[in-house]
Symmetry: C2
Subunit: 345 residues, 2 copies
């Protein structure tokens, strides 16, 4: 006789048209007939510990198939990156008790299959487990790949980072500082600005909501212009940055959270500066650089152990808190990387 288990889930009610709301998600309880990975399935039955809230996920709430990732399935728990413990395994590479990070679902227990980004967590690493969703996870690797591979930084260059205290931005800024760059972060509250300047060691930071004229703000912080803009937001900040790029500047287009996958309602008006300043603007996804992942982990863990890098998380307790925490990303309620703690072990 197999033991059944209840399984709380966060489910997408239906596809979203406008701005996603908390009520587009609902908590459900389902029943698992057993906590086992079926024989022949090559799958893992895992207990989810930490779940990641990431802006790209908003696009999956819309019925749009033209993106690099298909939409969520209504009525099903949503998918996302997570850290989990293997309970049962039909894959010989994984054993019960193993800790893994990779794509899982927003529920207590998931049956998952091996995939490109599913990794066994090395217990020797000795970093907080949740960091595998941020500093050592997809956002951290996005920062690493984007900064080193797309921005081609040189010592002494000037760097602007938007959404600078977010999951990606905070690491970009710290890597840039360690590389010998001058780094300015933009964020949406005085608390975040304070963290950027005092905890994350950015050279300067400002609250874009306090600036009536973003162009003037950028001229103040970059009197000689911007060599590298690591763009996490698109929209008006991108337009203002275009006006302030230096000759041969680079723009890494990493996210457009201000548009969350919709076309930009306001439009970008200053692309002409790409010509006059010979600027390269490049979109990228971390998944194209996975061969660099081991190097990234070594590099970041080394700096973390030496105290050169810190990482700020916004930890939300319990699956019940997940919808509010996730939707809060849209308005920047989170301070640092937003993570849901489903269970501690």
């Amino acid at each position: 006789m197999m033991a059944t288990a209840t399984n709380k889930q966060v489910v997408l009610k239906g596809y979203v048209d406008g701005t996603p709301k908390e009520t587009d998600l609902e908590l459900k309880q389902s029943i698992l007939s057993s906590l086992t990975a079926p024989e022949g399935s090559s799958a893992l039955l895992v207990k989810n510990l930490f779940l990641s809230c990431d802006p790209y996920m908003f696009r999956r709430m819309r019925q749009f198939y033209g993106s690099y990732i298909p939409p969520f399935v209504p009525g099903q728990p949503i998918e996302g990156f997570g850290v989990a413990r293997v309970i049962d395994s039909d894959d010989p590479e994984f054993q019960p008790g193993d800790l893994i990070s990779g794509t899982t679902r927003w529920e207590e227990y998931s049956l998952i299959r091996k995939h490109e980004q599913l990794r066994k967590i090395d217990p020797q690493l000795d970093v907080p487990l949740s960091y595998h969703l941020g500093l050592l996870g997809m956002p951290g690797f996005t920062a690493h790949a984007g900064f080193y591979e797309v921005c081609s930084p040189r010592k002494g260059e000037t760097v602007l980072v938007s959404a600078a205290s977010g999951a990606v931005g905070q690491l970009v800024g710290q890597l840039a500082r360690l590389h010998g760059c001058y780094v300015v972060g933009s964020a949406g509250s005085s608390k975040k600005v304070d963290l950027l300047k005092n905890k994350l060691k950015f050279d300067e930071a400002f609250n874009y909501k306090d600036e009536r004229d973003l162009n003037a703000a950028l001229k103040r912080y970059f009197p000689q212009g911007i060599d590298i803009y690591f763009d996490n937001v698109g929209g008006e900040m991108l337009d203002a940055a275009l006006l302030n790029m230096r000759m041969n500047g680079r723009i890494a287009v990493c996210g457009m959270v201000s548009q969350h996958g919709h076309s930009d309602p306001r439009g970008i008006h200053n692309l002409y500066n790409l010509i006059s300043k010979r600027v390269k603007m490049q979109g990228f996804l971390q998944s194209d650089y996975l061969n660099l992942f081991p190097k990234f982990v070594d590099h970041v863990v080394d700096h973390y152990r030496k105290g050169n890098i810190t990482y700020i998380e916004d930890l939300s307790e319990g699956l019940e808190s997940a919808p509010a925490a996730f939707i809060g990303l849209l308005s920047g309620k989170n301070v640092g990387k937003q993570v849901i703690c489903v269970a501690r072990e």
Copy 2:
């Protein structure tokens, strides 16, 4: 006693705010005290033969110093590329009778100094003199540098060229065909479309003014998407191209004649596709690649002699015709590269 000479000139009346008009330029007659290059001036006194009308010149009609080239000086003849014959020289590298191409002024006779792009024309080349303003001049070299250096083309890739029958576009398309690419050109009249298909050997061409939905038009010509967009116009065509780029596509941002240096009034809305398709978008100027100029001349002259490349010019007779010919560029009145013939020899 030195002979004086009259010198007809095309002069900028004053800085322009909105769209440049023919009446912003005027014909003047000045007097040259002599047709000589003053001793110690290191200058050349030249007789201008052909003058080039190029879209970048519109920006120089505005009082704007943020571009890569300063504004024209009101009351003075405007500057531009030209082909001229040396009448007198105080520079030992040039002799009376030499033919040169480079920056000169819109007048019958100019006193010019050696500069980066001033070149002696090799009479052995045996191509029409005016071609040194187009096929073998700045526009041709823009096509060459942009296509080979910025677009990194591979055989079999799909290429969209806007303003495709223009001074730059017609060569881009022909180079792309010779490189083994599939090339579609967009232009603004049925006559130009006909030239693209039948004379310039593009695979396909369409009149963008006949298309109510540019996105649908591009989907028709590029069912598999666009690898390379050589953008000479910006605006709506760029926005539609962004929706149709293929994975790892490249956009060479060469000109935004639709905006002639003003910020885009409509705005670009589809930059999100840079991320999902990992597209590189790069602004460039030919002047950054001048070390490749000799290679370019060899390459293009070789193809021209073999009959692999043709070049369409729109030749306008006399300095009197210059203001109308120049302003006509803005509405695409020219068919092919617009040149003013000031004198035949």
